[in-house]
Symmetry: C2
Subunit: 342 residues, 2 copies
């Protein structure tokens, strides 16, 4: 049995402990092996733990932190003055080995920069990437990266993302020989930006990667690719567009509840439950949590606006990354695939 | 009554005349003032017109074209060898004034390049942009550009897109003082690529534009922006992601029809009809048609895979652009807003 202790930045995100603490308790309920270190202000956190189950509380420890990284700061400046923040202390617990992973809903840029500084990149990785796993129509899952950590990517970064994504698809999603694709604006080889075309050339010649070519935004959810690689700008745009579109459609479905007889209402409610159940595997709340991939440690970034269920999903993702030993596997694969630099 | 004659590239797109001809007939039915010039192979087109209403046929003329621009060509090469193609002849009819607009489902890059060569850009426009109008939750419409004509955009191009988009929102969508936003990966001023931040600085100081800042992909359908400006890569990604997401959700809704009692089936069918009705204003088929904005003539690009209904929507969009005299209005606005270069 591996030690399974996670450090949670309890103060990060739009709602802080109001969301992170109940989510932490939920995670403890669903996983009896899990231990959590809640990093933050004990005065805010403690009241939220009052009258909770003693067994759960025995697996939870508050690690005091005086400060919190504000949401709207300049990363460079925030990193310099980050001593004593809940985010930094949480990352430090990973660095020291007291925790196996860190989860934070704080500012992405700061988390990224600080994690890179403190935990360092895996050898062969120029810049870590933000990755997430989204459900697809084939009832499998698609690994998408980068989601916004690197808005300018050269072709070798895209190739590194492809390798890391393939490892994730294999060891976390459980797909053998995952299809790896580059996000582009057309399927023809001549399409797109120079860095994408260059990365395509390299990937075509990388036998360890099952590269299938370009896919367009409309294939995000179809499952054509098990791994979808893009720069952080395009990745952020495609993921947020998908989330927004799904939310709009769900709101339209729910908006149907008015002006009907009571009998209709009952039937509608019944059907909506079923429709929503089918939608649920596309519900953004249930796949919240982006992994910072390429670090020598596990760091999960939750949406800032995550609710309890969504933050719990981010914790679950951290657990999975620990169990699958993601950083070690990526390092091993890079070692096998990338040209040696000596 | 303005003369309303459109040239259709009847051979373009994945399906050619099988789609374009029935769509043309539909458009003639719904608009008694409309005249259409069907450019293409008479032998393929004529059989599709057999036994049709004589009044409709009196407003339709076949203009013979020997060749078709293939879907998967290199634009530069295809443009050089484009003589005699249905696309070029259709554009020529606009240039000569015989038609007021051209509609094609052919290769985007070729259409763009050829249109620019033959019709020329409006003064003050570096590069024309592909624009479309999508429905939003506020029951209004959002103008989005560029959708893929220019994958590298400098800041002045983005500013020009913003001006053209604002004119479209005013004269075609009917919004006074439209909210203009730049697509970005965060709302803070410091976010995003250099060209976007530079364009933001210019737009903030352009009093004729109601610039509201950055919006993210999840706001595409919410109606926060009446005009959403982006480079062609991001625009293509956001639009295709939205289309793909909606198609996936609609397919899930439709997939709900199995395994129920007959009574349930009736109720489901009834509800689905209502849900689909609410969805319909987000149905990609109903807003097909991207305008090539910034040319001294009206050119509408239809999806290559457009079905009859979708191609008809592209024709409708051409009619509207003619009636609203879009190129003249853009030229007038640019003349008023942009610094003079003499």
């Amino acid at each position: 049995m591996t030690n399974l202790t996670l450090a949670l930045d309890a103060m990060g995100g739009d709602f802080g402990p109001r969301v992170t603490v109940p989510a932490a308790l939920q995670a403890l309920v669903s996983n009896p092996q899990l231990k959590l270190l809640l990093v933050g202000n004990p005065e805010t956190i403690s009241p939220l733990l009052a009258n909770k189950n003693a067994e759960l509380l025995s697996r939870l420890q508050i690690i005091p932190a005086e400060y919190v990284v504000s949401n709207d700061v300049k990363p460079s400046q925030a990193i310099r003055s980050s001593h004593g923040t809940s985010m930094r202390i949480a990352l430090n617990l990973v660095k020291s080995g007291e925790a196996q992973a860190c989860v934070s809903a704080g500012n992405t840029g700061v988390l990224m920069g600080m994690a890179k500084l403190m935990l360092k990149s895996i050898e062969g990785i120029e810049r870590p990437a933000l990755m997430t796993v989204i459900p697809n129509l084939k009832q499998r899952k698609t690994v998408v990266l980068d989601l916004g950590a690197n808005i300018n990517c050269n072709s070798s970064m895209l190739v590194q993302f492809a390798i890391m994504g393939a490892v994730m698809a294999e060891c976390v999603v459980g797909v053998s020989h995952p299809n790896v694709a580059l996000l582009n604006i057309g399927e023809e080889e001549s399409k797109g930006l120079d860095n994408i075309r260059e990365a395509a050339m390299t990937l075509r010649n990388t036998t360890a990667i099952n590269y299938i070519g370009y896919v367009e935004g409309n294939e995000l959810l179809t499952g054509k690719a098990d791994v979808l690689v893009c720069d952080g700008f395009a990745g952020n745009v495609t993921l947020k567009t998908m989330e927004g579109s799904i939310r709009v459609i769900l709101s339209l479905v729910k908006g149907q509840q008015k002006k009907s007889s009571w009998l209709m209402k009952i039937f509608k409610k019944w059907l909506l439950k079923h429709v929503t159940k089918r939608f649920s595997h596309l519900n953004p709340d249930q796949y919240n949590g982006a992994t910072l991939l390429g670090l020598r440690g596990i760091v999960i970034k939750s949406h800032g606006a995550a609710n309890e269920q969504a933050f719990k999903a981010a914790i679950d993702q951290a657990v999975q990354a620990v169990e699958k030993q993601v950083p070690d596997r990526i390092a091993a694969r890079l070692d096998a695939v990338l040209p040696k630099s000596e």
